[in-house]
Symmetry: C2
Subunit: 280 residues, 2 copies
């Protein structure tokens, strides 16, 4: 009962998009080949050709697929054409396979850290007094939300948002949106934020102080070490909760291309059918 918040009513087109994307990311539809014809694929997925087309339209926008008029719909290499948002889908797929997307999560956290470090550095130069005050005020509010997970997470997002905004750089703000969206998409990310609340909030307060000091270099350096510690603890903690061994992330990263979606059992493509076919 408590575990079905939104699964009952999904739109058919979303379903179709997810299934096709899963087929591509999972290697069922190999890069460089053509998808089945629209008429065939639509019956396969059990939707009308038109909703199938709407789905394909979205996949095209995501850079996963490129329809060629009289010919067919080619499958593109998401590692070349995919954007950040693809990360969420990749991680979700791994999760659906029953695993915790450790490698991806680690990568994602590293990216967030990198961005956060620079956000702090830039914000330390450009943040206004008004924004500083507002941020301080909001931090107090966030600290008061530790009882309500829902509210705390929302407040935490808002904090990240305000920080990004303080850079006065729209590109960074939008990027921050993207990253947060991907992170939020992960199941179990709620407790992500609930693990080290005390530490997190005290970290935020230190950061605020760094911004006040308006010392970009110090802000960057401090943020880097602070967040690194936080993220490391987070990964360890998740590892504990799931009961699996690998808190060691820096080691497993092989040559890049192969490390993609899986480390699962079988059937999960990506690993095998990649480079050979793609280039030719």
């Amino acid at each position: 009962m408590t575990e079905s918040p939104a699964p009952p009513k999904r739109k058919a087109v979303d379903e179709a998009v997810d299934r096709i994307r899963a087929g591509i990311l999972g290697g069922e539809y190999r890069v460089g080949t053509d998808l089945p014809g629209e008429r065939e694929l639509s019956t396969t997925l059990g939707v009308s050709r038109l909703t199938l087309r709407a789905a394909l339209s979205r996949l095209e926008a995501e850079g996963l697929v490129k329809p060629v008029h009289g010919s067919g719909t080619r499958v593109l290499d998401y590692r070349e054409h995919g954007g950040v948002e693809m990360l969420g889908h990749m991680a979700t797929l791994v999760q659906l396979g029953g695993e915790v997307p450790f490698a991806l999560l680690a990568d994602l956290l590293e990216l967030r850290r990198v961005v956060a470090v620079e956000v702090m550095g830039i914000a330390a130069e450009r943040i206004t007094e008004a924004e500083l005050d507002e941020l301080a005020r909001h931090l107090v509010y966030q600290a008061s939300c530790t009882g309500d997970a829902q509210k705390y997470v929302a407040a935490d997002i808002e904090t990240a948002r305000k920080l990004a905004q303080a850079t006065h750089n729209q590109a960074i703000l939008l990027l921050s949106n993207s990253i947060m969206r991907v992170l939020m998409q992960q199941r179990g990310m709620e407790f992500t934020f609930l693990i080290d609340i005390e530490k997190a909030i005290s970290t935020y307060k230190k950061m605020l102080g760094l911004l006040r000091a308006r010392d970009p270099l110090a802000a960057r350096k401090a943020t880097r070490t602070l967040l690194a510690r936080l993220d490391r603890r987070l990964l360890e903690r998740i590892a504990e909760l799931v009961g699996v061994p690998p808190p060691k992330v820096d080691e497993g990263r092989a040559r890049g291309a192969a490390t993609t979606t899986t480390t699962t059992k079988a059937t999960n493509g990506v690993k095998k059918g990649s480079d050979g076919e793609a280039r030719s």
Copy 2:
């Protein structure tokens, strides 16, 4: 003749997407309100309701719009829900208005710089010998392409790609994709890369040396200053070419929200109809 490579045949759904998105980004459809009904909007845009729906489906995926079943299609705030890819569309809109999207371009370059700095830092720790060799080989090739703009740009992208790959972090790789895509989307970005070829290539070579040294801190620091110089020169150069004054970017950035799409003449919303309506 030489200036119409792909404009003749665009798909109707793409056209619809662009027009609606322009309407939203331009403030014609205000945040928080509902879009016109699908039946009405489809006739307005001169497409069938079905292609209109495909378009809406994409806009939904972009986070610009949220259809509510029996009710209507609400316009969301792209500053909250939009991702990185939105940057390209925003800049394109400004360009269509006849202006050069200076502020956005500056923001975008800063973002790229930030990412590049960290890419270098991380790559300096994790790049393999094989990747180093491959990178060196590719740089030689790129240097040989200075005659052919098309090929040079392609090679330059590939260089960025290889660097991102050297981080062995998929999130960063995909982010790099996103950024490159947005940059490429800009008209006139071809000559972006053609302006300081000598400088650019010598910069790359220095970077390669830094990677070889495997000194993350030095790599970061050097990359930061090198790229900052390069980007500054680029903006100045564009300013010259277009004949407008503002190479001074750090100054004009006001409180954030308002600086969005425009600085154009009139009719261009965003500036006015924002916060008041959005929250309430």
